[in-house]
């Protein structure tokens, strides 16, 4: 019997469900509805009940938790020990789960400093397409034994198996933050500054930028540079950074944290738009940005210009076309008309991907890769 929604509380129940159902779709906290809404004919596995931290050794810089554990719960636990998830997972306030963050491959602005979810996920247990529970990676911060299955699950959207358990490496969190906001007339002025900063020895915690108004460049651009560390050092470091850039307004305290929290919650996303993640390169931004501005799409560039968050106002088919023209791909997280999606553009991996998919999901129970 095919049921529409199965609520999973235990790993054996997850295995049973995978074995019994011909087509499956997974939802964690539902913070990214475009990813967690099942296609017609697929049974929805609700993993929000498969939650809880299994191990946390602050001294080891690692923890292990069930995949449905809310990110916010983990962040609270880590903060008590002065630690954090350095990839800065977005949508924690919207109940994003650890498994969902891995499967969606989503990172916040803090990714710029130490790396993304791919760099901090060190172990997984997942249920493959035949219902087998498989372990990949390990629980120590350094490990080169066997194929790196944890990497494979980052961004996989559940297409290769269902994550049951995840082990992350964590770091001590900077004790304080301070930012510099730099106003610039246009991208032509901004990008050279971005490149100079990137080659400089400043330890930048985050490096984001966006047009002040979505429509055009008349109102200019704003570059956000964030520093983290011992509170006593932030003042002098900010001064040095401002001297290096020749401009910039220090932003500190509540105003600073509100700005960066807003980036994680996408508070800037206008109503009625689709939120789309688009991996980019800094040099590719000017051409893409012109097209996005023409379409009236608000956007934020994050991770030093390696990630564009696009709030697309129209039909997703048009965005897919636009991205394709620039050789880019996208991932719809929420909003939009649902078609095409959630992946926009050609999926990477080619024949390598198809061969691995055939082993992990021989009956095609999960979505495509």
């Amino acid at each position: 019997m095919i049921r529409e929604v199965i609520s999973i509380q235990t790993v054996p129940a997850l295995q049973d469900a995978v074995r019994a159902q011909p087509r499956l779709h997974v939802r964690g906290g539902g913070s990214k509805p475009a990813l967690s809404t099942p296609p017609a004919g697929a049974t929805l596995l609700d993993l929000s009940g498969l939650a809880g931290v299994l191990e946390y050794e602050p001294e080891e810089f690692t923890f292990t938790a069930l995949a449905g554990t809310p990110v916010a719960q983990v962040q609270e636990m880590l903060a008590e020990q002065g630690q954090y998830l350095p990839f800065d997972p977005p949508l924690a306030q919207a109940r994003a789960t650890l498994g969902g963050v891995v499967a969606a491959g989503t990172n916040g602005p803090g990714r710029f400093r130490y790396g993304g979810v791919r760099d901090f996920l060190i172990g997984v247990r997942f249920v493959d397409g035949q219902g087998e529970l498989v372990r990949g990676g390990g629980k120590v911060v350094k490990n080169a034994a066997g194929f790196d299955f944890p990497k494979l699950f980052v961004g996989s959207l559940g297409s290769l198996g269902v994550l049951a358990e995840v082990t992350f490496k964590v770091f001590p969190e900077p004790l304080a933050y301070a930012s510099l906001g730099v106003d610039l007339p246009d991208l032509d002025a901004l990008l050279p500054l971005l490149f100079r900063l990137g080659r400089s020895p400043f330890d930048l915690h985050a490096l984001d930028f966006h047009p002040v108004e979505p429509g055009g460049s008349a109102a200019g651009w704003r570059l956000w540079v964030r520093l983290g560390g011992l509170a006593s050092t932030l003042g002098p470091r900010l001064d040095k950074l401002r001297a290096f850039l020749g401009q910039g307004e220090p932003v500190t305290g509540g105003q600073e944290s509100v700005h960066w929290q807003g980036m994680l919650d996408f508070t800037w996303q206008p109503e009625g738009t689709a939120l789309v993640k688009v991996p980019v390169t800094p040099q590719g931004i000017p051409a893409l940005d012109e097209a996005l501005a023409r379409a009236g799409a608000d956007r934020r560039y994050s991770v030093g210009g390696n990630l564009a968050w696009v709030a697309w106002p129209g039909k997703l088919a048009l965005l897919a076309e636009l991205l394709q023209a620039y050789g880019l791909t996208g991932l719809v997280l929420r909003g939009g008309d649902g078609s095409p999606g959630p992946w926009l553009g050609a999926l990477p991996g080619g024949v390598f991907a198809q061969r691995v998919k055939g082993v992990l999901d021989p009956e095609g129970k999960f979505g495509p890769v």
Binding site: R118, E132, V140, K142, G146, K151, L152, L230, P348, G349
Partner: protein, 461 residues
């Protein structure tokens, strides 16, 4: 396989005679890698000079069902580039071009034969460097680093090779060419690039690798602390971690390793039971403040002596001794095996005590040099291969150490890979389900099991 074998005949059409080696004397240099206990003469070695030659060679091997092993500088400590009987070696050292260096986007596109250190040297004028720094970095190649997910002394903070590879163009074992990843730090879809890194050559040969570069730190502060026991040094590591600092590197050497480093590099180390090296790096203002905090923590751990490196020369000398320790150990004994297991950091003391007990039990000296920050042990098991049974006993001791790492919840390898050396231990770390899945994935990518056959996974299981 003799010279009339159709593969050799076809290779002779592809390569000029000086780049197709088949004579015994020519092949001798390729019989083993840095794991010298293993030898195997290949049927032939081709010295490829272009990606097209590599692709064509792989296609010919596939057509003729002949196994192949890709090889860079042959620095693998796990026998990763050990040739296969009846197989050929594809030497990649001549594919050593840095195809593109893009300082603005902080990336380099390189061929597999590019030497690790050369990437950092090329990037340095732009204020950038390539972070992974295995001890063999002056000679090891990026292709080998990618295949074995090599590490180095800075992995806790910056990760291993896989954390620095953005994209890979690879030829699969049947000659298909695929492009994985790209130039962005971000991606959508499964992380195929990350999955390829560390495959130990089983998924084919990387032809072009896009590496991410990092800005050179403004300054370094290095502290060398001497302790009268390994346990005390281990406790100091815990204290540093508990203080909330994130050092770029934390290394420990024991008495025997210190001796070796003195012989090899005249580092001027204190003669003591254990040395701890901790290094901070970053913006000057921040590092100064953190260094004051670090020294306070270190002073609280009862060190016998503390030295700090201010200038580049002092820092270089501290590291020279550490980095030379492996090769210098060769002066203490004719032969040695290096192990590479990982244990949870809190189990370091327990692991070292157990290794020391095993060393006494076997009557075999073991020197310890390890990445304390990430629990990555490097016991160097010293023996004389000319004594009958000595290698076997050293291997038995090495095996006990690997079992210990598994037992303590760690890994059999942190950065050297499984190779041929630790192949029988992988099924002890992973269960039958995991092993079966790895074999299935391998065969789906390489149905004939031609690519680096016998590494990581046993054949035909």
């Amino acid at each position: 396989m003799d010279h009339t074998h159709p593969l050799l005949q076809e290779l002779a059409r592809l390569y000029p005679p000086e780049r197709l080696l088949t004579r015994t004397a020519q092949l001798a240099a390729y019989e083993s890698d840095a794991l010298t206990a293993f030898h195997q003469r290949p049927e032939a070695v081709v010295l490829a000079e272009s990606q097209e030659e590599v692709i064509e060679t792989v296609r010919l091997c596939h057509r003729h069902r002949v196994p192949f092993v890709a090889r860079g500088s042959g620095t693998s400590l796990s026998g990763g580039s050990l040739p296969v009987a009846e197989g050929i070696v594809i030497a990649l050292n001549r594919l050593n071009r840095i195809l593109r260096l893009d300082p603005d986007q902080r990336l380099a596109v390189v061929e597999p034969g590019v030497v690790n250190l050369h990437v950092s040297q090329a990037a340095e004028p732009h204020g950038l460097y390539y972070a992974p720094d295995p001890s063999s970095q002056p000679i090891c190649t990026i292709g080998g680093n990618v295949a074995f997910n090599s590490g180095g002394a800075h992995c806790l903070k910056y990760g291993m090779t896989s954390n620095h590879v953005l994209g890979i163009k690879a030829v699969l074992p049947d000659g298909e060419v695929v492009h994985l990843g790209g130039e962005s730090l971000e991606g959508v879809g499964p992380d195929w690039t990350g999955f390829f890194v560390g495959c130990e050559g089983l998924f084919g040969i990387a032809l072009e690798i896009t590496l991410r570069l990092l800005p050179l730190p403004e300054t370094f502060r290095t502290v060398l602390a001497a302790y009268d026991s390994l346990e005390a040094a281990g406790h100091a590591v815990s204290a540093v971690i508990a203080s909330g600092l994130l050092p770029g590197a934390m290394e420990i050497m024991d008495r025997l390793a210190i001796q070796a480093a003195e012989v090899g590099a005249q580092a001027g180390y204190p003669r003591t039971e254990a040395l701890l090296i901790v290094e901070l790096e970053g913006e000057e203002v921040a590092v100064e403040a953190e260094f004051a905090q670090l020294l306070q923590v270190i002073q609280g751990t009862q060190p016998v002596e503390v030295r700090t490196a201010q200038g580049g020369d002092e820092r270089a000398r501290i590291w020279k001794g550490r980095k030379a320790a492996f090769s210098a150990v060769g002066r203490l004994a004719p032969d040695y095996i290096v192990q590479d297991g990982v244990v949870p950091r809190s189990k370091l003391g327990e692991a070292l005590a157990a290794i020391s007990a095993l060393s006494r039990e076997y009557g075999i000296p073991v020197a310890n040099v390890f990445h304390a920050g990430d629990g990555n042990l490097h016991p160097l098991i010293l023996f004389d291969g000319r004594e009958p049974g000595a290698l076997e006993r050293a291997e038995e001791l090495a095996g006990k150490i690997l079992d210990l790492c598994i037992h303590l919840g760690g890994s059999i390898t942190g950065e050297h890979g499984v190779g041929v050396e630790k192949r029988s231990f992988l099924p002890r770390m992973f269960g039958p389900t995991e092993m079966a899945l790895m074999h299935r994935v391998r065969r789906a990518v390489d149905g004939r099991e031609l690519a680096n056959r016998g590494k990581m996974l046993a054949i035909g299981e």
